[in-house]
């Protein structure tokens, strides 16, 4: 079966937070601008290309950045302003196609298949998007153009900053061949190391392995890599409206019998689900816990919060409360799942810029102990963004909740 050829753009705003700061304060142009946590233990959230020249990188401790770049302009994170600008940019994207999949505040996939009459070739469309973003917001976006999401993302990455790289149909393999195997999605430090020991450094070399070998060494994940190494990736561009819920579940090789062990698994699930919510730029209000007992009987419990959340801690605490309402424990459990629904995206998930409902009970009151929500949501939000950045750089295991052991129990 041959699929109709698709035209996918991956668009990534260059040094987004730092660029917004420069935009708002033009006198900073050309200077090393570093957006970072202001506290003593803060980390760098974003660095302008000038700052990167000094070796400053995202997720680096602020103190280190100051040492590397003492003349840098250090600015605090202004999330609501970045959101506002991001909304503008996404609105421009949506003029080109309704098929926009936000990956984060500064990254998106666009499916422009069949838009040739309107915008010319996909590469031409990318050029037009870049020009529109620059003209209307002053920001610079790097673009990758290819027949699928995976290739488009690699292409935009390679062209940064201010890049536009297109992978023409038929040129996919030649494009991938020289790249390090670590560029493949899902190849982390560990897989990369095992490949290196087999003498496999590039994607071309990885392609030398048969499907059987890949599956034997890396399981289902191996099949996925086998396809990626050939430039095959069928995943559609999914707009956020299509997702009704974001969830994850896990079947355990041995039934869980202790509430403590279940809570640990819930923490791991909540952590993953929240990271995905944040990656898609959505928040949800309803949290549903699914429990499958050893005899395959199943129970679900749900709770709806007043405000949408993308915070793992909140989702975890809520699911622990829900767990209390099940027979888990007395009845052994083979599967646990958490899903978050009633999603809202973008501006709808946030109070509008510049408005803040003030609380009646100030923070110091001991009565304000809340079993579910974080005590300081703003601080939590900043922490979550930082965690995402660290994971973006060091992979999903780059930072994990302290209560989670390095290795979870084996999964089925």
């Amino acid at each position: 079966m041959t699929e109709a050829r698709r035209s996918i753009l991956h668009l990534d705003l260059d040094a987004f937070y730092a660029s917004v700061e420069v935009l708002d304060r033009p006198e900073l142009r050309g200077k090393p601008v570093i957006v970072a946590g202001s506290e003593r233990r803060g980390v760098v959230t974003a660095a302008s290309y000038e700052a990167r020249g000094f070796g400053v990188r995202a997720a680096m401790p602020t103190a280190t950045a100051r040492r590397l770049c003492p003349q840098g302009v250090f600015l605090p994170v202004r999330m609501s302003r970045y959101r506002e600008v991001s909304e503008k940019v996404f609105a421009i994207y949506r003029r080109f196609t309704p098929l926009v999949e936000p990956l984060s505040i500064d990254e998106a996939f666009l499916d422009v298949t069949g838009c040739e009459k309107l915008f010319g070739s996909a590469e031409e469309a990318a050029r037009k998007v870049k020009a529109a973003v620059r003209e209307e917001t002053g920001l610079i976006v790097s673009a990758g153009v290819a027949s699928n999401k995976f290739l488009a993302k690699i292409a935009s990455d390679l062209g940064k900053p201010d890049g536009l790289i297109a992978v023409p149909p038929g040129a996919e393999r030649g494009f991938l061949d020289p790249l390090p195997a670590g560029k493949l999605w899902g190849v982390g430090k560990v897989t990369e190391e095992t490949l290196r020991r087999r003498g496999i450094l590039t994607i071309r070399e990885l392609r030398g392995l048969s499907l059987e070998e890949m599956a034997r060494s890396y399981g289902a994940h191996g099949e996925h890599l086998y396809r990626l190494a050939r430039g095959i990736d069928d995943r559609p561009v999914e707009t956020e409206q299509e997702a009704k819920s974001v969830g994850h579940e896990e079947t355990y090789e041995h039934d869980l019998r202790k509430r403590g062990a279940m809570r640990r698994e819930l923490l791991s699930l909540a952590d993953r689900v929240s990271a995905r919510l944040r990656r898609h730029g959505v928040k949800g209000r309803t949290i549903t816990l699914k429990v499958k007992y050893h005899d395959f009987a199943q129970a679900t419990r749900a709770a709806t919060l007043a405000d949408p959340t993308d915070d793992g801690g909140t989702i975890y605490r809520c699911s622990v409360v829900l767990l209390e309402e099940t027979e888990a424990g007395p009845r052994p459990v083979r599967l646990l799942g958490i899903s978050v629904s009633k999603l809202s995206a973008g501006l709808a998930a946030l109070p509008p810029a510049g408005m803040e409902q003030l609380p009646l009970f100030g923070r110091p009151l001991p009565e304000r102990k809340d079993p579910i929500r974080p005590a300081d949501p703003g601080k939590r939000e900043r922490l979550n963004r930082t965690v995402d950045r660290i994971r973006g750089k060091f992979g999903p295991k780059g930072i994990v909740p302290g209560a989670l052991p390095a290795e979870s129990p084996p999964k089925k």
């Binding site: 129970a299 419990r301 709770a303 709806t304 919060l305 007043a306 809520c318 409360v321 309402e325 709808a348 109070p351 509008p352 510049g354 408005m355 803040e356 409902q357 003030l358 609380p359 009646l360 009970f361 009151l365 009565e367 304000r368 809340d370 079993p371 579910i372």
Partner: protein, 374 residues
């Protein structure tokens, strides 16, 4: 089990228990009503484990017995039966029930009565009597102020305690969602016998079920609080509400004492203006701006997508010009609790809590936190 009953009576009793039966589906039996025939009475019970309602209905009883029937379906059937004949309900084998009236017959699958959760104990001791209308009004004034976030245990309930007014014994209800608060007092002869030394935190839904009971006709309701339940009875109906085991915030602490900027406005005019500008207030936050200057209050709203609304009303105000933002819904709920001709707003500045109260009547007070609008 079998009995014969008048159709309207059957519809009434099934409607009365419906609100509790429908909600949860975690245990199938909870979407059922438990029917029991003893002597010449039918009792119908529904429960969601938090709220239990029991109604008693005299019937022409045949055999005693009991069964659990899907509450919604049973009501649907009762409503469509032919009008002219009485309804006969009879147990058949395997928890089936036959419902017939005139020439119409229904067979409805039920569950064994034993699956239905046990009834909470009926409280012993002397209940306290409160006028149904007083209870209804109290509940109506505060319910909107409670949090609808069920995970926020301590704010999802309505606090009931003995009011501290000197003029006779009062039942006080207080509700807050963390952004605003309402407090209402209503005369309740000997409420001290029930709540002299304690307060109870009653889930919003439970208060609403008792309010329905109060609304079912004139007369008083009997209240009793045990360790775990608030019990209310009126006529042939009894309601148990499981109390929330959480600490309600110390509301007295947020009643401001130094709000010296006073503005008086006509209640109906204010309500109308709020309703008008609400049309242009942004969704979700419902932000409106109040600007006081001299004898005028300007109320305005701005929608980022659509435009603006602005309206003026007369106000008695002596202080300096002031602009203050609010969630317009909160103001509307506060004004709803006020029946008097004049509403008084007591303010301090644009970031501190504001009191809204009737000019003379001391039995109601709403406190609303402003919204910062830049």
């Amino acid at each position: 089990m079998n009995f014969t009953v008048d159709q309207d009576q059957l519809i009434d009793v099934l409607t009365g228990i419906q609100g509790v039966a429908e909600r949860r589906h975690t245990m199938p039996v909870l979407s059922h009503a438990l029917l029991t025939v003893t002597g010449s009475n039918l009792t119908v019970v529904s429960s969601d484990l938090e709220i239990v309602i029991r109604c008693l209905q005299p019937v022409t009883a045949g055999e005693p017995g009991s069964v659990a029937l899907p509450a919604r379906k049973f009501l649907d059937i009762a409503k469509v039966l032919p009008r002219e004949a009485p309804v006969t309900v009879a147990s058949k084998e395997g928890n089936y029930i036959e419902i017939s009236a005139g020439r119409s017959h229904f067979r409805l699958a039920g569950l064994p009565a034993q699956e239905f959760p046990d009834m909470p104990e009926k409280p012993k001791g002397k209940p306290v009597s409160i006028d149904g209308e007083t209870f209804r009004k109290l509940a109506e004034r505060v319910v909107a102020f409670a949090s609808s976030d069920e995970t926020r245990y301590n704010l999802a309930g309505i606090l009931m305690e003995k009011g501290d007014a000197q003029a006779g014994e009062m039942l006080r209800m207080v509700a807050t969602d963390g952004h605003r608060l309402a407090m209402a007092d209503g005369e309740a002869g000997n409420i001290g016998d029930l709540l002299a030394s304690r307060k109870v935190l009653v889930p919003k839904k439970g208060v609403q079920e008792i309010r329905k009971l109060a609304e079912s006709g004139p007369g008083s309701i009997d209240l009793f609080a045990s360790e775990k339940f608030l019990f209310a009875a009126k006529g042939d109906t009894e309601v148990w509400v499981r109390l929330l085991d959480a600490d309600f915030p110390d509301y007295r602490q947020v009643v401001p004492k130094e709000n010296l900027l006073m503005a008086s406005v006509n209640r109906n005019a204010f309500a109308e203006v709020l309703r008008r500008v609400a049309v242009m207030a942004p969704d979700k936050v419902h932000s409106v701006k109040l600007s006081f200057s001299g004898k005028q209050l300007e109320v305005s709203s701005t929608s980022p997508d659509h435009g603006e609304a602005r309206d003026l009303l007369e106000a008695e105000y002596e202080g300096p010009a002031m602009k203050i933002g609010f969630n317009g819904r909160y103001l509307q709920d506060a004004v709803s609790g006020i029946a008097e001709e004049t509403v008084v707003l007591q303010m301090k500045d644009e970031v501190s809590q504001v009191i809204l109260r009737p000019e003379k009547d001391a039995s109601f007070l709403a406190i609303v936190m402003p919204m910062r609008i830049f």
